[in-house]
C-alpha cells in the first residue's frame, strides 16, 4: 500500500487496530516522505527515525496483544517548542541548539500515552515569534503549495508537514495566530483550544497569558481525535483548568440547524483581500444552506487587538526569556570577561533579531515611567476587547470571518518592516486576548493558494467549533486537496 498519506488520522488509527497494516510499515513510509521533502520544505529540525521505528515495533506488539490506546501506532510530529525527553528541543533558536530536554511536556506525554509515535520535531519561528517561519535559526520553512512562499508561522513546520502529508497530524502552539494563520496559508485545519484547556507544562513559554497548545491536521474530525487525547487538567500548569474533557469525536455529527453565526463586521474591511473575502462569503453562504442563521455583529474595540498584543506579548516575552542567562542551560558566549558580559553576549549572540526586538519592546513598555502608559493601558483595552466578545456570545453561538487578510506571501516580502508582518495576525489575535477557542479551516483557493475560514466560540466550546467545522467539511472537499508533488 502506498497511499497511506491520503488516509485520515481516524482511518489510520482504525486500520492499525484492525491490523490491516503495521505501525512499522506506516512509520517507515512517512519517514521516507519526510526525508524526500526536507530539502524542498525544511519542515523539520530533527527527525527521530531510530526511536520512531523502535516505538512503532512496540506499538505493533501492543496491537497484536489487543492492547493500545486511541492513537496506538499512529505517526505524528511535535513542534520544536514542546520539550521531548532525551531529544533535542531547540525552539528554532541558536540559544537552545544544544538543549536536550530532561523531561516530556505534558502534551508529549499524553500523546505518547495514547500510543502516538513521534517522527520528529518541526521547524518554527524562533521562540514562536513570527508569522512566516522565516526567523528560525534553522532557515525558513517553505510552503508546499508554492516553495517561493511562506507557510505562515510560527507553526510553519508543523503546517507544511501536515499540508504535504509528511505526517497525518502535528502539534502546534498559538499565541497570536500561530496555529490558525499557517493552517489557512497551507490549506489545512488548525485548532487553538481555550486558554487552560491544554497544559502548557513543557511548552517553552513566549507570552504566558496568551500561549495555548493545539493541533494541525487535514480535517476537523482528526483535530477532535487529537484534542481528546491532548486536553485535560494538569497540576504542573497553574493555569490549567480542571473541567471535564468532552468526547469531541462523538460531538462531531450534531446537526447544525439553528446554529447562530455572527459575522464579524470589523473583519470585512478594506484590509481584506477582495478574493479572500469572496471565498469566505461563499463559505458563509454554504453555512446558511446547512441551516445556520447568520447575523452581523460588531466588536468595536477589536481593531485595537494588534496594538494591545504588541504591548502585552513583548512584555511577557521579555520576562519569560530572562531565564536564558548562559548559566544553567542553552548557549554561552566564548571567554566572558565578567558575569554581566556573560549575560549580555550569551543573549546577544544566542537570540535572533526578531526575538531581540520583542525583548527590547517588552523591556521598554515595562520600564519605569512607561508601564502605565503602555502596559496597563494595553491590559485595560484587552478588557474592553474581552467584553466585546462576551457581549457578542450573548446573542450568537459562534463567530465567523477570515483567518488572514491575504493568502500566502513571498519569502522575504515582509521581513524589512515588522509592522507589516505583525498585521498578518490582525484577525487571529482577538481570540488569544480573550482566551477563546478558534479553528481555521480551508474554504477555497485564490490563484491556487488556499484560503482559511475562522470559527471562534465561547470558552470551552471546542466541541461546538469542531462540530461546525466538520459540518462544512462534510459538504466540501477543500480539506482533502493536497499540493502538487505531494499527492
Amino acid at each position: 500500500m502506498s497511499d497511506w498519506h491520503t488516509s485520515t488520522l481516524t482511518q489510520l488509527a482504525a486500520g492499525l487496530r484492525a491490523r490491516k497494516f503495521s505501525s512499522v510499515e506506516l512509520v517507515r513510509a512517512y519517514l521516507d516522505r519526510i526525508d524526500a521533502s526536507q530539502a524542498a520544505l525544511n519542515a523539520f529540525i530533527s527527525v527521530t527515525r531510530e526511536q520512531a521505528l523502535a516505538d512503532a515495533a512496540a506499538a505493533d506488539r501492543a496491537l497484536a496483544a489487543g492492547a493500545g490506546g486511541a492513537l496506538t501506532g499512529v505517526p505524528i510530529a511535535h513542534k520544536d517548542i514542546f520539550c521531548t525527553q532525551g531529544v533535542r528541543t531547540t525552539c528554532g533558536s541558536r540559544m537552545l541548539d544544544n538543549f536536550v530536554s530532561p523531561y516530556d511536556a505534558t502534551v508529549v506525554a499524553k500523546l505518547k500515552g495514547a500510543g502516538a509515535i513521534m517522527l520528529g520535531k518541526t521547524n518554527m519561528d524562533e521562540f514562536a515569534m513570527g508569522s512566516s517561519s522565516e526567523t528560525s535559526f534553522y532557515g525558513p520553512v517553505r510552503n508546499p503549495w508554492n516553495p517561493q512562499l511562506v507557510p505562515g508561522g510560527s507553526s510553519g513546520g508543523s503546517a507544511a508537514a501536515v499540508a504535504a502529508r509528511l505526517v497525518p497530524a502535528a502539534t502546534a502552539t498559538d499565541t497570536g495566530g500561530s496555529i490558525r494563520q499557517p493552517a489557512a496559508l497551507c490549506g489545512i485545519t488548525g485548532l487553538k483550544p481555550t486558554y487552560g484547556r491544554v497544559s502548557r507544562y513543557g511548552m517553552i513559554a513566549f507570552a504566558s497569558s496568551l500561549d495555548q497548545g493545539g493541533v494541525l491536521t487535514p480535517s476537523a474530525a482528526d483535530a477532535a481525535l487529537m484534542l481528546r487525547e491532548m486536553a485535560g487538567f494538569d497540576a504542573n500548569d497553574s493555569t490549567s483548568v480542571d473541567t471535564p474533557v468532552p468526547d469531541y469525536v462523538a460531538a462531531l455529527e450534531q446537526p447544525l440547524a439553528g446554529l447562530k453565526v455572527g459575522l464579524l463586521r470589523e473583519f470585512f474591511d478594506k484590509g481584506l483581500d477582495a478574493h479572500n473575502e469572496q471565498r469566505v462569503r461563499e463559505a458563509l453562504k454554504l453555512y446558511q444552506q446547512l441551516g445556520a442563521r447568520l447575523t452581523e455583529v460588531s466588536l468595536p474595540n477589536l481593531p485595537l487587538s494588534v496594538p494591545v498584543y504588541y504591548v502585552v506579548a513583548p512584555a511577557e516575552c521579555s520576562s519569560n526569556l530572562a531565564r536564558f542567562d548562559g548559566v544553567r542551560f542553552g548557549y554561552r558566549c566564548e571567554n566572558p570577561r565578567d558575569l554581566t558580559d556573560l549575560y549580555r553576549r550569551s543573549r546577544g549572540e544566542g537570540f535572533g533579531a526578531e526575538v531581540k526586538r520583542r525583548i527590547m519592546t517588552g523591556t521598554y513598555v515595562l520600564s519605569a515611567g512607561y508601564y502605565d502608559a503602555y502596559y496597563l493601558k494595553a491590559q485595560r483595552v484587552r478588557q474592553l476587547i474581552n467584553a466585546d466578545f462576551t457581549r457578542a456570545f450573548g446573542s450568537v453561538d459562534v463567530l465567523m470571518g477570515p483567518t488572514t487578510p491575504t493568502p500566502a506571501f513571498a519569502i522575504g516580502a515582509k521581513t524589512s518592516d515588522p509592522i507589516t508582518m505583525y498585521l498578518n495576525d490582525i484577525y487571529t489575535i482577538g481570540a488569544n486576548l480573550a482566551g477563546l477557542p478558534a479553528v481555521s479551516i480551508p474554504c477555497g483557493f485564490v490563484q491556487e493558494l488556499p484560503v482559511g475560514l475562522q470559527i471562534v466560540g465561547p470558552h470551552f466550546s471546542e466541541a461546538r467549533v469542531l462540530n461546525a467545522a466538520h459540518a462544512f467539511q462534510r459538504a466540501t472537499d477543500w480539506h482533502t486537496r493536497v499540493p502538487q508533488g505531494y499527492a
Binding site: L304, Y343, A378, A434
Partner: protein
C-alpha cells in the same frame, strides 16, 4: 469607533515616527534587557522600535477610565494551591547535563567578587 482601515493605514505610513528613540535610549533598553548589541544593530532597532511604539500609540484613542486591567484570559479563576509536600526528586545531574560549565555539582560563572 475604530476601524481596521485605520490600523491598516499604518502599513503604508512611510513617514518618520514622530517620537524616534535615540541611540542612547536603545543602548539603555539593551542594557536593561542584558542584550549585547553591535553598533550596526542599534540603528535597526532605533527605527523598528520607534515604529512599533508609534503603532501601539493607537491605544491612546481608547477610553479606558474605570476599566480594570486584564492580566488573565479567564477572569474569575482563583490561583490553585497544593499541599506543602515535597513532590520533586533530586535530578540535578540530569539537569546539569545541559549546563555550559559545571564542577562538583555547581554551575560555574566568571568570578563575581575579586
Amino acid at each position: 469607533m475604530y476601524d481596521f482601515a485605520l490600523v491598516f493605514s499604518l502599513r503604508h505610513a512611510r513617514r518618520e515616527p514622530p517620537m524616534a528613540l535615540t541611540r542612547e535610549q536603545i543602548a539603555s533598553i539593551a542594557a536593561l534587557a542584558r542584550l549585547d548589541l553591535s553598533s550596526s544593530e542599534i540603528p535597526v532597532y532605533q527605527d523598528s522600535l520607534s515604529r512599533i511604539l508609534d503603532f501601539v500609540g493607537a491605544l491612546d484613542r481608547a477610553h479606558t477610565t474605570g476599566v480594570a486591567p486584564m492580566s488573565h484570559p479567564l477572569p474569575g479563576l482563583s490561583q490553585r494551591l497544593r499541599p506543602d509536600v515535597v513532590t520533586e526528586q533530586d535530578r540535578h545531574e540530569l539537569y546539569q547535563a545541559n549546563a555550559p560549565q559545571v564542577a562538583a555539582g555547581l554551575y560555574l560563572v566568571p568570578k563575581v567578587i575579586e
